[in-house]
Symmetry: C2
Subunit: 386 residues, 2 copies
């Protein structure tokens, strides 16, 4: 059983364009209910993590979203109370490492031995009991001093994800703070390297090799280990977040945050920590036993809804939202909650997003082209729709 206290960290940022106009700058994907469950991806993430936590989860989000995050947290609890979670507001977006490092520094400041677990606010995960078991294993490996990631066994040669390669036991580098035998005993595998999004040929080799995982951006690590290693790799970043954390709870906090934040290196945790630690043999992967999807575009969302979602009467049409839909000879996905009635004839593999100010009709097999279309909004003076 893990012994150190566990505190989840939920970076909730990123105004992606691949689910526009369902997601907008002011209403990012993590605030959306993409499963028809009545809860947003953020709410599901909090619900999944809160039972595993020894202190309230820390949500790191942007100033523009903090209010909406608070409202969604309040919705989850009994009236007036809400789920206990802590919201840290970033003065400006600076990629994932500063956000996670700041949360780690606050945890280290308050509970020096604690393990943090960082999980994206906008991914779908099935089988929460499997997730809980995998996180428990990751915590124990983290207590050994590892940076632990939960890796997803690839089901296709996807080119939209980074990959994680497990190290062959005999080639595993030994060094300070590594204990491959204990690591394996807990069901984790030492990691040799992280690989950025590959081309298709490379992805196919990875899948065929059987020794690669998808990188789902899930990291479990002692807060102090994270910050000490960060102090080696990017000293100013570790120093900055520790200075902010030291001011936590005082009247100087806002000033110290505002002064330090713009100086922090804007970098992803993969580059800042995961890659150098993997090279040093200090990263382990716990193979995920739960279902996972990052719902990266409308094609992925349509696949998810086909597996999990509600089925409109007598057709192969999924409806997310309250829109009324009639369909003939169609396999399609509809997102909408306007008063408008929606009628579909003869459509195959089409997604339709019906909102008050924008309508998207998209062929799922061209879902990746949506980003270019959203770029057109700015070019054509319609940036208000983003």
């Amino acid at each position: 059983m893990p012994e150190a206290p566990f505190i989840p960290v939920i970076p909730a940022g990123g105004a992606g364009t691949r689910l526009w106009p369902l997601s907008r700058r002011a209403r990012p994907k993590f605030l959306l209910d993409l499963t028809g469950s009545g809860t947003s991806l953020l709410q599901q993430t909090v619900q999944r993590l809160a039972p595993l936590a020894d202190s309230p989860p820390i949500i790191v989000t942007g100033g523009a979203q903090a209010g909406a995050v608070r409202v969604q947290l309040d919705e989850m609890g009994s009236p007036g109370s809400g789920v206990r979670a802590r919201i840290i507001t970033e003065p400006s977006p600076r990629s994932s490492m500063p956000a996670i490092a700041l949360a780690a520094a606050l945890v280290e400041h308050e509970e020096p031995d604690a393990v943090i677990g960082s999980f994206a606010a906008d991914h779908l995960i099935s089988a929460p009991e499997d997730f809980a078991r995998d996180v428990a294993a990751a915590r124990q490996v983290a207590e050994l001093g590892y940076l632990v990631t939960l890796g997803i066994r690839p089901t296709s040669p996807a080119t939209g994800f980074g990959y994680i390669e497990q190290a062959p036991a005999e080639q595993h580098p030994a060094g300070p703070g590594t204990d491959p035998a204990a690591c394996r005993a807990l069901g984790a595998l030492p990691v040799s390297r992280f690989v950025e999004k590959p081309d298709l040929d490379t992805a196919e080799r990875f899948v065929a090799a059987g020794t690669f995982f998808w990188n789902a951006g899930m990291f479990v690590v002692r807060a102090r280990v994270l910050l000490d290693e960060l102090a080696v790799q990017i000293p100013g970043l570790a120093r900055g977040v520790r200075e902010i954390a030291a001011a936590s709870g005082t009247e100087k906090y806002d000033e110290v945050l505002a002064r330090n934040w713009p100086t922090l290196t804007s970098i992803a945790i993969d580059h800042a920590l995961a890659e150098p630690l993997a090279a040093a043999g200090r990263v382990a992967v716990v193979p995920a036993s739960f279902g996972w999807d990052d719902v990266g575009d409308f094609a992925a969302l349509a696949r998810q809804l086909r597996e999990w979602g509600p089925d409109a009467d007598g057709s192969d049409v999924r409806v997310l939202g309250t829109s009324t839909v009639d369909a003939i000879g169609s396999a399609a996905t509809v997102y909408g909650s306007t008063d408008r009635h929606i009628a579909l004839v003869g459509l195959q593999g089409i997604s339709i997003v019906d909102t008050e100010d924008a309508l998207l009709v998209l062929a799922d097999d061209h879902a990746q082209d949506l980003t270019r279309l959203v770029d057109l909004l700015d070019e054509h003076g319609r940036g208000r729709l983003r």
Copy 2:
């Protein structure tokens, strides 16, 4: 040159479902601008016929549409005056023969020698000068006593139209009121028969034979000939419309119309007159030299707009209406004038109709299934949208 006065008749009825939700019960196809020209099909029909007319065209329409028809006619003229056209209101829809017969009876009552020409209010016709020349030829043949139709040379084995077969000269039946030689001298061909919508095999044979025309429902005939022959075929119908016409201009008109109208046989002019007169050798066809399309469904409309309509910048998307559209990798047709912005990605052969209360997304190659979908509206308690 034709000598008898010519008076166009425009039956403007029919609440079709094949262009829903662009067309509605309260806004039938003939009231719509389907070409982006700023004028409705009805207005185009009036504009095309008025210059050929010796008395104002007669529009026969339903009570529900009469007000909208008047507004559109007023729009066409100088303020306050409008185009001179006469609107006859049917107390209830009774198919095409009663509507055309009533117009013929009013004409006969006022100008006993006049030739009428009946043309649908909701078809597209290109090259108005060719149309005018063909109508002039038809008028001269009609003065010989024929029922003259303008036939469309088929460009495909369409199964959605009726066909007209020209008679071989040597087999042409002679009889009272026929003069095949004079008819041919005027560029018209005697007709042997009208054929209802055929199956595909039959249509292919017709097209291969080269002796068939599409029946576009265009009839040119002396009013008196039409009514005298109708008096032979369906005596009560001829008697009824002549009784109504006799009351025209008197205070009894409304009462006589209301009393007689429900007694008139509800029948199409093809069955009531064209078929029996063809068998008697008294129908002639003038091969149309103009372009024609009945814009019967969204596939036909998309084809038309591809030939004639405006092209959205840098894509193969046609937009009818004021909607703003961005598209990537799409060949589609958009109908809309809402404030909503429309975005298309990767669509091929799709029509989108965006209205305030209903949205249709349709694969053009399934356009014929739309009627079934509109039926669903009633079944699902959404009849208000029809």
